[in-house]
Symmetry: C2
Subunit: 287 residues, 2 copies
């Protein structure tokens, strides 16, 4: 497994691979791997003949009061896991390589970031879209794999890929959960033992909502109110948003008359956790 | 010469060329070719083994009260000229191909557009950076050629290329002028006969400034005041800006103690004309 720390050597590897007739899958990450990351890498490894993993804690997608400095890291372990799963290359640039002195170009989207996490994190998706654009240009992947836990991010990258004509196959991978249902996240490391039960309120409320909708509830406000009360019943929780919306545009849906995205962000102790699922009313929209 | 109207067929041509070991020069234009465009194409033809020319009047770079609908066109003549000069491909998409329904991704720069033309045309360079990003991704050129009349645009594209890691060789081509000194521009077509003399005030004032600085004037304000009066002495002229600034950052320079960019925009009748030159104080900065 090759390790690259600068744009030029990473790009040279990609060019050499493409010249040799290989194709490249990219798995962009911020490191501190869990089984969710590993599932993305397995998908990447199957999708193309070569797989590159990037590890970069992107300062441009953290707000001023967010957890950039606390973000967990374990590079040695990450490299071992990536190698074991069959990565051919790891790209791990430092901040100055990605945002050198005088850096000033940003990629923004007009509509999709105005929903869900973008409301309380107003510059987050500009940072995501910018770094992903850079990674796409440096690594020139044929496929790129992103997790669906960050559903809004996945939608934004799909839109960006289409709008800016990258021509990359964007794959969204299913959410990977702990056995108790908690969606895997590097930020779960922030949870203290006594907060762990509270963190389960997210995945459990998704299950409750799915059942409500499957059994006929179509008013979004009723579903949202029900799970808001449920989550608020746990200690240490502070809800940022609970949204039921169109899975493509992320526009609010008042009535669940077609498959809808239920997405939420909840602060649990120091950890800002997100989770989501698709709600299907079986009477109206059979799967 | 191949003509492509959609992203996919254009991209397929580029991929086929690269696979065959060819390299591609791109000359992005808004059509209505004059000798300035042809000079870019000559440079492109020499720079790489294949040359593509794009013709697209980009709505995203026109403001609400600007001349988008009036912008001159002559596609048949353009195609003939491109073919004669040795273009291998012309890309001429329509607006819906470039900005389909639901389009929402834009590329912005933080500092460079806050100068010169960007002040009176606040969304112009966002439109330029966005369409150039798209053209780069669709056509994947090895070299791209831009004229230096649009000096700020050229600087922005160089920065964009560096910031977003396109890895393209960006070439700035010298300004091409009519025999009387008027910088060639598609917008010169707007000039009525009685405005033509006034249009010469731009290039003539550049010459005056060059002489003033070469012979020892170092205060920018004196140079600017002198040519402001000169240009205002012509009928039909309305100055947008006259700037003496750093050729890299475009930041204002009070003292011409190193090579400086003199750039100006002047409305002459219906035509908004721009021109620029580099001022060199021969005592301080010998060429």
């Amino acid at each position: 497994m090759k390790i690259f720390k600068n744009n030029e050597s990473m790009g040279a590897w990609s060019n050499a691979m493409h010249k040799a007739g290989e194709t490249i899958a990219l798995v962009p990450t911020m490191g501190y791997f869990h089984d969710g990351h590993l599932s993305l890498m397995k998908i990447g490894r199957e999708a193309e003949s070569r797989m590159a993993v990037s590890i970069f804690v992107n300062p441009a997608q953290f707000g001023a009061n967010e957890d950039l400095d606390a973000y967990p890291m374990n590079i040695e372990r990450d490299l071992e896991l990536a190698e074991n799963i069959g990565a051919d290359a790891v790209f791990m640039p430092d901040k100055e390589e990605i945002y050198p002195n005088g850096y000033q170009s940003y990629v923004t989207l007009k509509y999709l970031p105005g929903h869900l996490c973008g409301i309380s994190r107003p510059t987050h998706f500009r940072g995501v879209a910018t770094v992903v654009t850079k990674l796409f240009n440096i690594i020139k992947p044929d496929t790129a794999v992103f997790g669906s836990k960050d559903y809004q991010q996945l939608q934004i990258i799909k839109q960006l890929n289409k709008d800016l004509n990258f021509g990359i196959n964007i794959v969204g991978a299913p959410i990977v959960r702990e056995t108790d249902g908690l969606a895997m996240s590097s930020r779960n490391a922030y949870l203290r033992p006594e907060e762990r039960e509270s963190a389960l309120s997210l995945s459990r409320s998704l299950e409750k909502a799915k059942k409500m909708v499957a059994s006929g509830t179509t008013k979004s406000s009723i579903v949202k109110e029900h799970i808001r009360e449920y989550i608020e019943g746990f200690e240490h929780t502070e809800i940022d948003y609970i949204s039921i919306c169109d899975p493509e545009t992320l526009d609010d849906m008042e009535t669940i008359d077609k498959p809808a995205l239920l997405a939420m962000a909840v602060q649990v102790g120091r950890a800002r956790l997100i989770d989501n699922t698709i709600l299907v009313n079986l009477n109206i929209c059979p799967e």
